[in-house]
Symmetry: C2
Subunit: 189 residues, 2 copies
């Protein structure tokens, strides 16, 4: 069951058999139903989540009441509200399953002890966060320079399977336009 996580870690750092066993003791496996929440706005987020299968969405509710998705979590991705997690502040986001999903949970209060036992995980997470931050920088180009239609085509080209898996209104929310506008773009195609 823990194989996908261990094999993801070993893409970045090699693990001994012992280290693999320690990691297995520190993370929990969690199965969530569609629509189940991992955390909600106002409560502190106390863990990070590695998606084995399924799909999560992280969103906030805008002043006008509209949900704005800022991120999806799919297979082999870590997802969390890192401001809440790092600074112990109430989250400004919701993290919710949008499909039945299987996850690994690394709780904040276990993380430091795990890193002490397996120091090379510092290197693994350093690389994970470096890539996540890199993606966030690049996303700023797409989200401030592309038209709605260009954003859709960019996303569809990079993640062709993924856009088949999620409800269209969620894809529209992530791309920052209405479901009606998305239908128009797709109809054109």
């Amino acid at each position: 069951m823990i194989a996908p996580l261990l094999s993801h870690i070993q893409k970045y750092v090699p693990l001994t058999h012992e280290e693999q066993e320690v990691i297995a003791q520190y993370v929990q496996c969690l199965t969530v139903k569609n629509k189940q929440y991992l955390f909600t706005e106002g409560a502190p987020c106390s863990a990070q989540y590695f998606v084995i299968e399924g799909c999560l969405r992280m969103y906030f509710i805008k002043e006008n009441g509209v949900e704005q998705i800022i991120q999806f979590g799919i297979d082999n991705w870590w997802i969390s509200d890192y401001t809440s997690l790092t600074l112990n502040k109430p989250s400004q986001f919701y993290l919710q399953a949008v499909q039945p999903s299987k996850l690994f949970v690394l709780k904040k209060d276990k993380q430091e002890a795990l890193f002490e036992h397996v120091p090379k995980l510092e290197s693994y997470f350093r690389r994970i966060y470096q890539r996540a931050y890199a993606a966030a920088q690049t996303r700023q180009i797409y989200f401030s320079d592309l038209s709605g239609e260009e954003k859709y085509h960019h996303f569809a080209t990079r993640f062709p399977d993924f856009i088949q898996r999620i409800p269209q209104y969620m894809l529209a929310s992530y791309l920052g336009f209405t479901p009606e506008f998305l239908s128009k773009i797709r109809a054109k195609k």
Copy 2:
């Protein structure tokens, strides 16, 4: 000269005297003039930069020819194009000094060797990137939910000294509106 960097690292991880000397051998001090570039679009970015004093801006040029600033680098911040750095791809950004600035440079080709000599720097950079990624997540709320005027006030409240230091057209570019609009907001106040 290296004291500000060492003291920043030691906010996160303690360093022995030996480790401090190793770090001093692996990073270079660099003084840049106002308007000098650290890297430009199309060329790979091969280092990350720690600002001791001064100010840098990272920007890209939009399809319509307008410069869009995505980030400032001020005292005690690391700044780089992490997609270009991580994946050896040509940068999509420009990194330029907007004041005479003093920096430390950690070159990509020295980074792995430095981490081998001082493994606790993995933990330091893990924390640095975790915080940078956290800030990028939170920024998505401000940039997709606040009006131009609200964004200005939010930024002015968080960084009161900083907005006095940079030219107004740059602040406008970062916040995503025109210098004229910024003058109007300030005049109101």
